[in-house]
Each structure stands twice: as C-alpha cells, then as structure tokens.
C-alpha cells in the first residue's frame, strides 16, 4: 500500500531543494524567468515583500488565480504563503495542489497566539525561525522545512545573518550538552524536549533549513551558504533588480559555488542596480515582520 503525506516524503521534498534558490514570483512570466535561471522552486505571491511593506494594510494569501497561473507555467515545485494560524488558507492551498506551504510572517498573522497544527496536512510546510526555540516549536507543530526569518523586503542581510548564526550556535550547544541537561534547556528555549533530543542525536536539525529575509546579491546568497544554510530564499531581491534574469542566474550559481570566489567576482560584474534596501534603524518595531508571532 502506498502512503502519502508521511514525514519522510514531506521532509524529503525539502531535501531535494538543498543547495538551491527559491524565488518569489508574482506572475507566470516571472516564474518562467526563475525556472530558466535554475531556481529549484518558486514562491507564488500577489506582491513581493518589499511591495507588501510599501502597500501597508493587511497582507493575505494570494489570489488563487495567480497561484494557478504560476503552477501552470513551470515544472519546478510551486510554494505559496498562508497567514500564520490561518488553517483555511492553508487548506485552500493544499486543495489547489501547491507543493509546499509557507506559513509566513510576511503576511499579516491571522492568529496572534497559535500556529497551524501542520502534522495532519498531506502538503508539507515551511516556517520561519529566529532562534532554536522557534525552530523546534515549528518542527513540533509539524513543519517539514525551516527558514531563518531575516527581515523580509529590506534587501539587508544583517538579520538573516543574525538568525542563522544564532540557530546554529544553539544547535552546537544542544549537541554538546549531556542528555540530562536537555529538559531545562527545553524549558529555557520554550522548545519541545523530544525535538531537542532528536537534534542532539542527529547533530543537526531534523529538517532542512534555508536562509531568507534580505538576500539581495550573489555574495549575500553565498554568505548564507558559508554560514551553513541548506539553500536560500530570495524574495524582493531578484525582481526588484535592474536585470532580473541575469540577477537570478548569478544568485543560483553563487549559491552552488559559494566557495568559488573568482566565480562570484565574475558573476557580480555589471549586474546593474540591486534593490535599494533598508537600514534596520529606520524600521519601527511594528515594521519588523520577523517579530510577528513566535
């Protein structure tokens, strides 16, 4: 008997994305550009994060027409975002057959306390995290993939670096601890004990962890790989740049060959203007998507 929706096929799907770049797209044309550039998946959205920031108001799941259009345009996997805690948006996306759901802080949370119980969905979920406590809680709820949050739509890598470094430092700490210290650590991190135990045994997270939120250049993507990300999400960076196709290809190559600095130098030549970017100091707490719902 065939079994669908098992942890192995849900987590395994993310394993197949490793070393790759997942790109935000808002229509079929952008999705084609992303696929041709070598993206491993696309995230179908109504607006990229920097436009969500500019537009203000409540950001919701994309119009299903856009998601469908993107699904019909490409053969690579298509992801889509639902609001944190919005069980019905998630069920709608699952019913449409999207390949991965991002329960995302980029959209306005629908529930300010609870995330979706993702365990009984057939479709796999990716969730954001800023530290190991968040990462472990999301795994406990059934996330099959993680991404460090960074600060979406800013084109500023600083938060992405901070979150990935912190998660990895906290993993190293867990691995180095003795098992009888884990329960107290679980209490302090607000993390499920079983997930920490699994991390200790494996020496790593039990799911793939990409970096997201602020990747704007090929060198940014390579930096995240260097710091131990399994791959990168690029949101506004590509289609807000002067030459999206060239930019997308350069980011894909820099992610694969992240230790080949001569190549990254070549790739970075004459790319044109990257997205403008925001300094964190100019953002108020209310502007920080990464602080939404832990």
């Amino acid at each position: 008997m065939a079994q669908t929706g098992t942890d192995r096929v849900k987590r395994g799907m993310a394993e197949m994305q490793k070393g790759g770049v997942i790109m935000d797209v808002v229509n079929a044309e952008q999705a084609k550009i992303a696929e041709d550039a070598g993206a491993v998946a696309v995230m179908a959205l109504e607006r990229v994060p920097s436009d969500i920031r500019a537009a203000g108001g409540v950001a919701r799941m994309a119009d299903p027409t856009i998601v469908e259009e993107v699904m019909n345009a490409v053969s690579i996997p298509v992801m889509a975002k639902c609001r944190i805690g919005h069980i019905v948006e998630a069920r709608v996306l699952e019913a449409m057959g999207v390949d991965y759901i991002d329960e995302s802080e980029v959209l306005t949370p629908a529930d300010d306390r609870f995330h979706i119980d993702k365990r009984n969905f057939t479709v796999p979920f990716v969730c954001g995290c800023r530290n190991l406590g968040e990462a472990a809680r999301r795994i406990g709820e059934g996330a099959s993939m993680l991404r460090t949050k960074g600060e979406p739509g800013t084109g500023n890598i600083v938060e992405a670096v901070k979150h990935l470094r912190l998660v990895n430092a906290q993993i190293r700490k867990i691995v180095g601890m003795s098992e009888d210290e884990l329960m107290t650590e679980a209490k302090e991190l607000g993390a499920p004990f079983d997930v920490l135990l699994e991390i200790k045994k494996l020496g790593r997270l039990p799911v793939v962890n990409f970096a997201a939120g602020g990747v704007a250049t090929p060198a940014d993507a390579a930096l995240m790989m260097h710091l131990g990300a399994d791959g990168v999400f690029v949101g506004s960076g590509i289609f807000k740049s002067a030459n999206p196709s060239k930019y997308a290809k350069a980011i894909v190559e820099a992610t694969t060959h992240y230790e080949d600095y001569e190549l990254i130098a070549e790739l970075s030549k004459g790319l044109g203007e990257p997205m403008k970017g925001l300094d964190m100091a100019t953002l108020t707490e209310a502007d920080r998507m990464s602080l939404r719902s832990e």
């Binding site: 008997m1 065939a2 395994g12 799907m13 197949m16 070393g19 041709d36 070598g38 998946a41 190559e253």
Partner: protein, 193 residues
C-alpha cells in the same frame, strides 16, 4: 582498495548519497567541477531539480565531461538523475545526458501531495524495499538493451543498461543501503574488467 565514487554536487540530496555509498564500502567525492571527476571510478546523479542541475552543468563544461566520463564508467541516477540520464523526456524537445535508452515522464505521479512511500520488489536487489517517491518520474518505455528492475503498479521505476543504473525513487532517503551496495558492486566489476 575501495572504489572511489563521485556524487554530482550541484544541487539536491548530496550528503544522503555520500552516506549511503560510504556505508557500502566506497570512498566518495563531491563533484562540482570537471577536475573533480579525475580518478573517480563511478558517479551518482542525485535527486533534486533536473532543470537546475542541467543549467549548472552547462557551467565549467561539466556537461560534456560527464558525458565523456560515462562512456566507460558506471553512473547511477535517482529521480532527477533518472531524467538527466534518459534519451527521451516526454513533452520536452531535447534530452540531457542521454545515457540510457529510456523514455521518461516527469512528475509522473503528480504534484507533492501525491508523493508516497511504497513497498517494492527490485530484481537482484531486494524482495522488499521501501521506495520513497517524491514528485517522481517513471519510465514509459525502454529500449531492447535495458533491463527493467522494478515496477510499481505496472510503471517502470528502476532499470539497468550496461554500466548504467537508475531509479525513480530515493533509496538515499532510507537507511537501507542495498541499492547503493548494488551500484558499488557494479563499479567494482567495471574496474576489474
């Protein structure tokens, strides 16, 4: 001496293959550039996104180098690797490496929600093997020189042709290394010839 097997390391489930090969007694190396192929006895094309891998293979002349390597060295492709090895891909103009006389259908079982695990019988490898199918392809038909090793509901999901081995599922995502052991043996035999 242990055989040395490369894993194409451009994108996808790379460490899982490395682990399974090492468990099967082979030495390994991750291949990202042409010079990494030097001195290897065999090569694994892992699961991942075939379009992504193809685009990256066109860099650094890796595509032609792998084709030359495959002329006399064993190659094993899983999932996306199967698509890279096929001579014919349904609905697509040209093939990629075109190593095996097989005609394949991409994402043949459907999208991710249809991804599944199922028990398989694999000729010469196992009576029961947990096949992990993720947006998997299958083989529509094969040439006369191709041996079909496994079928799932009449669909061909594993095959062998000379020194080429392929499957539509992911043995690297299980702890069962029998498929990799079989390939390591193929590499050892090719070396002894």
């Amino acid at each position: 001496m242990a055989v040395k097997i490369g894993v194409l390391g451009l994108q996808g489930a790379i460490p899982e293959h490395v682990k399974a090969l090492e468990k099967s007694g082979a030495e390994t190396r991750i291949v990202k550039r042409v010079d990494h192929l030097e001195g290897l006895d065999g090569l694994v094309l892992p699961g991942g996104e075939s379009t992504t891998m193809r685009r990256l293979m066109d860099q650094y002349q890796l595509f032609d180098a792998i084709k030359r390597f495959a002329e006399n060295k064993p190659v094993f492709g899983t999932c996306a690797g199967l698509i890279l090895m096929a001579k014919q891909i349904e609905g697509q103009k040209g093939p990629h490496l075109a190593l095996m006389d097989i005609n394949v259908r991409r994402n043949a079982f459907g999208r991710q929600v249809a991804s599944f695990e199922a028990d398989l019988k694999i000729e010469g490898i196992a009576d029961h093997f947990n096949g992990v199918f993720i947006r998997a392809p299958y083989i529509l038909d094969v040439g006369p020189d191709v041996d079909v090793l496994s079928r799932y509901e009449d669909k061909i999901v594993a095959a062998k042709q000379g020194h080429f081995l392929t499957c539509a599922f992911h043995p690297e995502l299980t702890d069962d290394a029998r498929f990799h052991q079989y390939f390591v043996k193929m590499v050892e035999e090719a070396q002894n010839k």
